[in-house]
Symmetry: C2
Subunit: 133 residues, 2 copies
């Protein structure tokens, strides 16, 4: 009997576009850094590499997080929710910056009195992270 090495990928309930949301949560702080999307190849590659690889919907290609910035995410655990349609990664965020705006995480806007207020500092100017585009 041939064992299907990708059976664990079949357990994921990919949506009608073949994607699932993947949450990156920082080990230690518990901080939710970001949410991106994964297709089957991205999740497989993430596990092989031990670093987060997402599916970029805007660029329509695999996106090895940190490929341009160096801010890779070392993945120490991959979790799946009860419905099988959300992935949760436990990561170490290299460089301490997950957001393309230069902030530690992407959730720097909090609702207050009917407005989204920014409450987290830019740690590094994006032009320094990505260079002149």
């Amino acid at each position: 009997m041939v064992r299907n090495d990708e059976a664990w990928l079949d357990d994921v309930h990919w949506d009608d576009k073949g994607l699932v949301p993947a949450i990156a949560q920082e080990i230690g702080t518990g901080r939710v850094l970001m949410v991106a999307w994964m297709d089957r190849a991205a999740l497989k590659r993430t596990v092989e590499l031990g670093e987060a690889v997402y599916w970029s919907r805007s660029r329509q290609r695999l996106w090895h997080k940190g490929e341009a910035s160096g801010h890779v995410q070392k993945v120490e655990a991959v979790r799946l929710d009860c419905d099988g349609d959300v992935v949760l990664l436990a990561v170490q965020q290299v460089g301490g910056i997950a957001c393309h705006t230069g902030r530690a995480d992407c959730f720097f806007r909090v609702l207050k009195d009917g407005c989204w207020c920014e409450d987290a500092p830019v740690l590094k100017d994006p032009s320094e992270i990505y260079g002149s585009l």
Copy 2:
């Protein structure tokens, strides 16, 4: 000049189905409890009520989390990510059980040697939570 009281809802980038994923994160532990979906009415109602209200895709209606189980989520903060397409809730989980399986959270499966292994206990039998269906 008439102020648009729902401008903050316009800042959310609803997907082609009018939804965004919403993460419920437990205050104190930092535990990611669950991910569900919100439409505009669900997010508005969540803020009005101070308790998490989602859009149930399976039932195609607003779902006040805990309406059957009593396990409501008291919402203390609502965050939006940089792209405006994911919501992060800081919640107190009443009853200490977020998952319909009777576990503390929905992410009780971790990838190990090519298998999803359950590593969190059922705290209460679902039949006790929801009664006989």
